[in-house]
Symmetry: C2
Subunit: 331 residues, 2 copies
DNA sequence: CTGAAAGCGCTTACAG
DNA sequence: CTGAAAGCGCTTACAG
């Protein structure tokens, strides 16, 4: 258990002031080559490692980004988090993870409280802000990027795909493949991205003269599962769009337990193309939102804000064109 | 952009000293009910949020745990990280993520340097320490838990499955299903968990009178892919154990491109059972290490160390019995 | 180009 | 039970 080495130790060793040592290490202007070498040698010899907590406290910048997520199990989150966090790290920012701990799909006060206690330079959120938190978050004075969500309703910076479009191409695919009694299985009834996909589906179906019946719109996180499947089977539904791939897999399993064979006369479409992320064989038909580009764009938007000279930035959307990936879960 | 509210503001508002306010908020003994209420009311009114950086600097405990990972794309990492990080959060610890940024599968000095700059209370690592880092890490005085890896060779605390056993049951399965020319596709030739699985396979095969030929042991992160597949095809290999499921999927895809049908006369087995994590249909035969229990055990071991009264703790292994999950990738 | 002093927001150790 | 002082390890702002 070594004693901690501080700037003071380096100062003593080199005969310089703490101040000068700090300036050299932070590459602030004004020091001689000679001083620089002495400092670097001493740091190396003593094994000096800066204390970012102390540095952050004084300077006001912790060089951290908070990442707010729901769960990392869904590869859409983990895949994009992987890309984003590595990009931040390369730029000298570390990521602190905050989950909603299964509370809700929203950023609430409790969550923001624990985030702000860490004084991050920026917040990248996979979660939408709760309605009563929008002002609070904007007033917090910390760059806040909503990732995979539309920022516009909150007048916040969002990086998201055109989800209505995604829902539409899924709907068009189902129609083109001859499915006619379509259901939608979302996550939560009040999460915008979930509703956008639903709306896209509805629009595509309507254009084809098919109705998305209200009784065939479900929210898997809010409703009981068995009755939902019962209803789908009883009503002879023959095509389903699911909010994401994992939901699609859960639903497919249940349908197959009921003797329905998915892929032929019964079609299921998901969202996110997680199979591709894990190099899996393409089984599920799904909508790919271009996750890699998407994640990189999200990281870049945040890095821009972090290094931004502008104090105020307009909210904006980065829109990527989604595309359908055909698998064996639709004919 | 609200002005930051500090303890001092609360002190002024209540007419108490900063000290007393701090004591109330940290629930240290000795204060009256009346004082407590005044403080809490003031904090609520002004929206006080503690600065954990300042707190950590003074107290020596940052209430953070560093998580060192390779990538989050592999669900084995993201699934367990999700469980572990949520458990830490519930106990008041936040997780700071550190990746090797594609450098190597090891914890090297550069990585430890950035970790230590954050002064975490503990380090949970999915990566093994580089050989020359073992002493450094032990001397750092920060509890270090190697997760999913054997700690014994480093005399460190490890939480891992019996990987030799896992390799063995995979080998036994391949033999039982009638495969006779077996290959192993690992990740890195010098990562212990990779070698352990290989050894288990070898033992099982040997017991069945089958040899695991050296020329049929590959390391996908170190060798060129195409020649590897060429060799497998040319030598009429009929069964493969892959170090993990993702490698298995990649290999299966390549084999099928070569016209081989996996699942019948050609068997492939993976490791981790990631399909189950994402509720996917069971296609791949794989070894499940019981990831949920495993992750919970890892978090608990760390939490024990963090709250531990003992200064020195013996290194130990938490061993879980793995089991084989039969899918359609073996007959 | 370098240094002495102040201070970031807390908690600790001590005094009363 | 409460307060005044010191200090965690840095960086800033200023003086020379």
């Amino acid at each position: 258990m070594k004693k901690k080495v501080t700037l003071r130790d380096i100062a003593e060793k080199t005969g310089l002031s703490v101040n000068t040592v700090s300036r050299v290490l932070n590459k602030k202007p004004y020091y001689t080559k000679e001083v620089e070498e002495k400092v670097n040698a001493a740091c190396k010899e003593l094994g000096y490692i800066v204390d970012m907590n102390a540095s952050g406290l004084r300077s006001g910048s912790t060089r951290t980004v908070a990442i707010l997520y729901d769960d990392l199990i869904n590869p859409f989150y983990s895949y994009t988090t992987d890309i984003i966090s590595k990009r931040f790290e390369k730029r000298g920012y570390n990521c602190i993870m905050f989950s909603n701990n299964d509370r809700s799909p929203y950023v609430d006060y409790e969550l923001m409280r624990s985030v702000m206690a860490r004084k991050p330079d920026g917040i990248l959120s996979f979660l939408e802000p709760a309605a009563d938190m929008v002002d609070f978050i904007r007033n917090a004075g910390i760059p806040f990027v909503i990732f995979g969500r539309d920022g516009a309703p909150y007048q916040m910076v969002g990086v998201d795909a055109d989800e209505v479009y995604g829902g539409r191409i899924a709907g068009e695919h189902l129609l083109a493949r001859g499915y006619r009694k379509i259901a939608y299985i979302g996550s939560w009834h009040d999460v915008k991205v979930c509703l956008d996909r639903q709306r896209g589906l509805q629009e595509a179906l309507a254009a084809g003269g098919v109705e998305l019946k209200e009784e065939h719109v479900f929210y898997i996180r809010e409703q009981e599962f068995a009755p939902m499947i019962d209803k789908i089977v009883a009503d002879d539904v023959d095509g389903i769009l699911c909010f994401n791939d994992i939901i699609a897999f859960i639903v497919i399993e249940a349908l197959e337990e009921r003797g329905l064979e998915v892929g032929g006369d019964f079609g299921v479409v998901g969202f996110d193309n997680i199979q591709q992320m894990m190099r899996m064989p393409r089984f599920l038909t799904t909508v790919d939102v271009g996750s890699r580009d998407f994640a990189e764009a999200g990281a870049d938007v945040m890095l821009d804000l972090l290094s931004g000279s502008e104090e105020e930035r307009p909210s904006f959307r980065e829109t990527h064109k989604s595309f359908l990936v055909k698998g064996r879960s639709t004919r």
